[in-house]
């Protein structure tokens, strides 16, 4: 009898304690560094402050079919590149404010410069230039408007052998 009572007590405690969690979402999110300006009716809201630029450096190869476990979440997008093996060789993460740029040194002596042109509560507009290190003019100079917290991929710079560099880029705010 005591045994049963103990079991019932434990179960009741579990239900009581977990009720708030099962009932709804958790508490307020962490502090958002980007303060949202008061928007006009129907227009995206301007965002001031800094955004976080996150870049992964992935080596794609056909000499092996090993896939870095850290890349499992994005493999569905990497498979279309017709490579067998993927290795996460570096990660870059930096904050940038609107009107400013940040540079990242990536494999092969290259440099990736990201300038935040504009940002609102829907999307961020960034200008990305990739320098191969051989000259002052960039190999790639593109301006992309990407939704908040979404990523895209820059790929193709060559590495040793027939390997190529894949750079998933995400703007977080």
């Amino acid at each position: 009898m005591i045994r049963r009572f103990s079991l019932y007590l434990a179960t009741a405690a579990m239900l009581v304690i977990s009720a708030p969690a099962l009932a709804g979402p958790p508490g307020p999110p962490p502090v958002n560094p980007a303060r949202v300006a008061e928007p006009k009716e129907g227009e995206p809201k301007k965002v001031t402050g800094k955004v976080q630029i996150e870049i992964l450096c992935v080596r794609a190869t056909n000499t092996t079919s090993n896939v870095d476990p850290k890349l499992q979440g994005i493999m569905q997008h990497l498979r279309i590149l017709k490579y067998k093996g993927f290795d996460l060789i570096d990660e870059h993460d930096s904050e940038v404010s609107s009107g400013h740029d940040v540079s990242f040194d990536i494999e092969g002596g290259r440099k990736l410069q990201v300038e935040l042109l504009d940002v609102n509560d829907v999307q961020a507009k960034i200008r990305m230039r990739m320098f191969s290190g051989k000259g002052s003019s960039p190999t790639l100079d593109t301006t992309v408007s990407v939704h908040r917290n979404r990523a895209f991929i820059v790929a193709g710079p060559k590495m040793e052998g027939d390997d190529v560099l894949i750079l998933p880029v995400r703007v977080k705010y």
Binding site: L140, V144, F152, G156
Partner: protein, 428 residues
């Protein structure tokens, strides 16, 4: 005796040169046993078919030899004057042979056993029955003349008569030539003078280069080398085969030699088969032609073939298929139930449950299930990356270096990502 169909056809050919009769005559000739086998194909030669037909008729006992008629027509009854007036030195045939053979006097004794003049002249002139007379007049061997006369005249032994040029020879010629009234006078002069015979032969045979034929007979050049084997193997042309067969028929020595030659091949073949047995000759042949390894095949590489097959077929996993066929003979042993611990504390279970509940509750705040606008995505590394769909991203501007190529690729599907592909060092 009545005429048979073959004789009719032959007479048409002999008298009229009837070409239509040739085919019929040839067909009948092939199966007529009265004709020697070697003569059954003489009509196949289009040259002088009338002469051949006439000769065949003579063999069949029908008609008269053209030569006999020619002799009678030419010689008539007034040949004595001609015969006496023309010594042997002036005989055209003798002169022709002498001109061909040179100044060498060919003695009859030397040529007695070897010169088939009768066959040669007969083959050229078409069974000229007086060939022996001509040959004798020219001073050739007596036995041949004897044989020829015997062949032409039947079983008349006129050898002595030929030598002595006496009346028996005349009788033989008469028997051969038919109603040759001047046979006696002609044959009297056989040893001295033969102008009528020469004329007769020439008239019957046409422009026969007797000298050539005689000379060919003298040196044996009328038949090709190895002619006897050619007779056995049927490799000789028809005309040559007839000539060779005639020569063999006339000589018992040649016949015996031919028989021995025919059987030699059989004996040789049997000996080789008995000796060789079932021996494979390839090894010896291969070595003789320079192949060191008779079993080797140039260009064949078994290892390369195996590697190519393996590369094409790939690895074959037989484990699954084998295990599917494997029958287990006994059931797997089931686990024995664990004994219940005697010192279990239910409080411990309750406490663990409570702790787990607390962990789950406070752990929710660290898990982001559905990111939404206004809330930053949790920093989860690559697994946390959400790629912009087609309506969530836009390329506003794109520039690249002259030595590079850039393509913007948009995946298909609900979770499609945009890829900006940069191909360095390559231009379109």
């Amino acid at each position: 005796m009545g005429m048979t169909r073959l004789e009719d056809w032959l007479r048409r050919i002999a008298e009229d040169g009837d070409a239509a009769a040739v085919d019929a005559a040839r067909a009948l000739l092939r199966t007529d046993e009265r004709i020697p086998e070697e003569l059954r194909y003489v009509l196949d030669d289009p040259e002088d078919r009338p002469g051949a037909a006439d000769a065949l008729l003579f063999l069949l006992g029908e008609g008269e030899s053209l030569v006999a008629e020619a002799i009678r027509a030419e010689a008539g009854s007034a040949m004595d004057d001609d015969l006496t007036a023309n010594p042997i030195e002036g005989v055209p045939v003798a002169d022709a042979v002498r001109a061909e053979a040179g100044t060498t006097r060919i003695s009859g004794a030397w040529l007695a056993d070897a010169i088939p003049v009768d066959e040669a002249i007969r083959a050229e002139a078409g069974l000229v029955d007086v060939a022996d007379a001509v040959a004798g007049a020219l001073g050739f061997g007596i036995p041949m003349v004897q044989g020829a006369l015997r062949w032409g005249a039947g079983a008349v032994d006129v050898a002595e008569a030929v030598v002595g040029a006496g009346p028996p020879v005349a009788a033989a010629v008469r028997a051969s030539a038919g109603r040759v009234e001047i046979a006696a006078s002609v044959l009297v002069k056989v040893g001295v003078d033969v102008p009528p015979v020469s004329h007769a032969v020439r008239d019957a045979a046409g422009t026969v280069a007797v000298a050539d034929v005689v000379m060919a007979g003298i040196v044996g050049a009328d038949l090709p080398e190895g002619w006897m084997a050619g007779v056995l193997d049927r490799e000789l042309p028809d005309a040559v085969h007839v000539k060779a067969a005639s020569r063999i028929a006339a000589s018992s020595l040649l016949g015996a030699e031919l028989t021995g030659l025919a059987s030699a091949g059989t004996r040789l073949r049997a000996a080789v088969e008995a000796g060789a047995g079932t021996v494979s000759l390839w090894d010896g042949v291969a070595k003789s032609i320079g192949i060191a390894d008779p079993e080797a095949v140039t260009g064949w590489d078994g290892a390369a073939v195996r590697a190519a097959v393996l590369d094409e077929a790939g690895s074959v996993d037989v484990v699954r298929r084998v295990m599917a066929k494997v029958r287990r003979s006994s059931a797997a042993p089931s686990e024995r139930p664990e004994p219940r611990p005697a010192n279990s504390a239910y409080w411990v279970a309750a406490a663990v449950a409570v702790a787990a509940t607390i962990l789950i509750v406070f752990g929710f705040s660290g898990i982001e299930r559905m990111p939404s606008p206004g809330r930053p995505a949790p920093d989860m590394g690559a697994p946390g990356m959400v790629f912009a769909k087609a309506d969530e991203i836009r390329v506003d501007d794109l520039n690249y270096a002259d030595d590079a190529t850039v393509q913007v690729i948009q995946e298909d599907g609900a979770d499609a990502a945009m890829i900006i592909w940069v191909d360095e060092g390559k231009t379109l």
